[in-house]
Every structure is written in C-alpha cells, then in structure tokens.
Symmetry: C3
Subunit: 171 residues, 3 copies
C-alpha cells in the first residue's frame, strides 16, 4: 500500500511539477517541426545580450504549406486562432533549435501579431489568443508577454497571421 502511494506521488510530481516545456508539448501531441533557415539575406533569430529577436513567422504546417486567407472574408475566428497557435509552435521550434532546451527561456517579452484581415474585421485579439495561449501552455507564467494585435490588408503568401517576438533567455 505504501509503495502504491509512493508511486502515485512520484507520478503526480512528475506530471505537475517536473515537466519540461518539451514534455508538455509532447503530452499534448504537439511536435516541433524542423524549420529551414531563410534563403535570403536574413536569419530566423539574432541574439544580443540576453535577448533573442525572432523573425516574423506564419502558420506553416510540417510540409511547409501555409494556412492562408483573410479573417472577415474566408477564415473564421476559430480558424484564425488555430493559425496563430500553429505560428506559436513554429516559433517555439525556432527557439528549440537556437537554445537546445526551451527551459533556457526566461521570459517571452514582447509579441507583435499581424492578422490578415478585411477592413471590417475587428477581432484580432481573439485570433492572437491562439498564439498567447500556446505560449502560456508550454511555458507557464514565463510565456506571458506584452502584446500588440494588429490587422493588415495582406501578408506574405497570403498567410493568415504573421508573428514576431522578443525573448529573454537565462544567462
């Protein structure tokens, strides 16, 4: 009996306290993709001091295909939320490649989210919550960031959202 209680305690601790961001994502069935470096004269991330500045990314799937379209025209808020969530997964993949371990993230500092929108669509924050919710799911309070959610009339490849961010890392 004592052994069983001990076992349950260990499992409980393991699942609620000791989980790394990678373990949390894996437990939710979220795979971090292998993202290629840009083919032009820029890079995915630049480090200065203990800050990482990440290039804007969009909602590409494992095959590199984007979720495309405009909110208010041919995408629902739910589809936009899913696109923003996928973008967060892609940016975590950039961070994983840069840092080795996501536990080296001290704080997601600042997020700028652009939402491909018709001129009468005003719910960009609900779309960008897909990005913010995934960050907090993976990183807890370290994932809470300052944020701007903005509409725009078009984005590269007609992708639904584009998000750039600034991240503070541990020394």
């Amino acid at each position: 009996m004592k052994k069983i209680i001990l076992l349950i305690s260990i499992l409980f601790v393991k699942t609620t306290i000791a989980q790394t961001p990678e373990e949390k994502l894996a437990a939710a069935g979220i795979l971090l993709p292998n993202l290629s470096a840009p083919v032009a004269n820029y890079v995915n991330v630049v480090k200065t001091g203990n800050l990482l500045f990440l290039s804007g990314k969009g909602p590409s799937d494992q095959s590199g295909k984007y979720i495309t379209g405009k909110l208010g025209t041919n995408l629902t808020i739910e589809e936009g939320y899913a696109a923003a969530r996928l973008t967060a997964i892609n940016q975590l993949a950039v961070l994983k490649k840069e840092l080795g371990e996501l536990s080296k993230i001290k704080r997601i500092v600042k997020v700028l989210g652009l939402v491909n929108s018709s001129s009468d669509f005003y719910e960009q924050p609900k779309v960008m919550n897909g990005f913010s919710d995934l960050m907090v799911f993976a990183l807890g309070d370290k994932g809470k960031h300052a944020r701007s959610a903005i509409g725009t009339n078009t984005l590269p490849f007609n992708m639904a959202v584009e998000v750039e961010l600034i991240v503070e890392i541990e020394n």
Copy 2:
C-alpha cells in the same frame, strides 16, 4: 516688496523647474485612468533589464469606450490626433502603475504607431504627433523617441489608433 518678489520667484521655480510629470499632467487637467489588466494570456508590460516593453493600447476613455473609425473615411486628422493623444495618456497610466512615479522614466525609446486608415490616407505622422506631443509635454526631452507611423486597414474594436512602445527606466 521683497516678499512679493520672493513669492513670485518661488512660484516661478515651482512651475517651471520642480514640476513632476504627474504635476504637469494635472495642471493641464489630464487624469491618468485606472487601466485593467488584459483578460487573456498577456500583460500590459514586461520588464527586461532596464527596458519596459508595453503592449499596444488604443484611445479608450475613462469608461473603457474607444474612439473608433478610419482616418480618410470618417475621422479627421484633428480627431485622429486627439485619439493618439488619448492613447499616450493611457500608456502613461500603464507606466505610472508599473513604476509608481513617472520620474523613473529615463527615456521613451521607441514608439510604433498604427493608424486605422483608408487606402488613400497618407497623413499618419500628423495623427501620431498627438502621441509624441503629449509624451514630450509630460516628460520633456526624455519623451523624445524614435518612431514609426504606419497605416493599416483595420484595428481591434475598430479603434482609430494603436500604439506600442519601449521605455528605458532609471536603475
């Protein structure tokens, strides 16, 4: 007679030198509102080192109601200027809540201003001057910042402007 000159001198020094940003704002009848924290997974401000990154805010009044509309469609430059000025007041309220005293601001470093615009409206800088002028009124030379003023086809809640900023604080 000497007493009167002394009194005038004291008043002069008080009003021109010793005024805090809060006193300057109060003297102009500007009240800093109580802003609520976001209800989603992000926050109004994140501190890293001696920099504060502030979330994008818009021209909400004391009741939380926004100045809405597009420049070039249903808002004049003067109305846009007033909206940008109100947004500056709201961001100062965020800074006041974070810092306790606005005198802890060392410099407004960088401002990104989005102006809700029709496709043929090109006067975003004149609109954003409402933000910049208020910052310099309250903070003097510390309020002078690098700035981008940009148009966009839509913003959350159809608000007239959205402004985010980076602020350096005293150690």
Copy 3:
C-alpha cells in the same frame, strides 16, 4: 616582377579585406545622403545600452522626394526592391551620422519592413530583399538580421515601403 606581384597583392588585400562599409558603398557609386532631423517631437535614433532604435524611414531620394505607390497596383516587384534598397541607404545614412563610422556597427539585429500593398499582393519578402541585400553588401555577415516583412494598405506620403530597425553597436 616582384614589385608587380607585391602591388597586386596589396590591391587585392585592400579591395577584399580592408574595405570599410563606406568604401564598399562608394565603390558601388552609392552616396549616403544628408538626412534632416524630424520636425516633430521625435528623433531619427535613440540609443539605450549598446542598442540603437531607428525611426521608420522610406525611399526618399537626395532631394527628399519619395518613391510612391502600391505594390500590386502601380509598382512592380523590381521597383519595390529598388525602393527598399534606397531605404536601406537612408538608414545607413542615419547610422553614419549617429556613429561617425559604420564599422562601429556590431550587428543589424532586427528589421521590420512595411510594404504598401494591394490586398492581393503577397510578395513582400521579395520587396524587402532590396533592404536586406544592401545591408549585407555594406556590412557582410554583420548585416544579417532577424526580419519581418509585412503588407499594409497605406503608408505616410504614399511611400512604397517603410522600414525600422534595431542595431547593436560596439562598446
């Protein structure tokens, strides 16, 4: 004969190794313009720590006239590329004025590029390559940056692009 080889060697070293960014630009016939300070309550650049935050600039020529128009409506990708390249030259002029020598640049950290676009134009990255290519031409690997390329429905003065950036400088 030895003298000639020595001379060729010196010339080779001079042109491939010892060139400053200013020399590279001059050799390509690129002149850095004299940019005036903004007439409103903001500035071209703010320094905090070893970072410079630059205001958004556009493709103005030596006389101050902008390349105007929208990609997808009345500008080709090639014309947009040239506008982004000219904007890079203008931002290097800001940096030259601030730093004295462009060799004090440690890294172009982050670039945000806005492209004046019709709602069905999706090639903003190809336009912004004009900015990135010039930076890497002038600064080599130090010119490689994190980047977001974004469309928008309008920009100040109807200019074709607007670009802001963050630069790390040597101590």
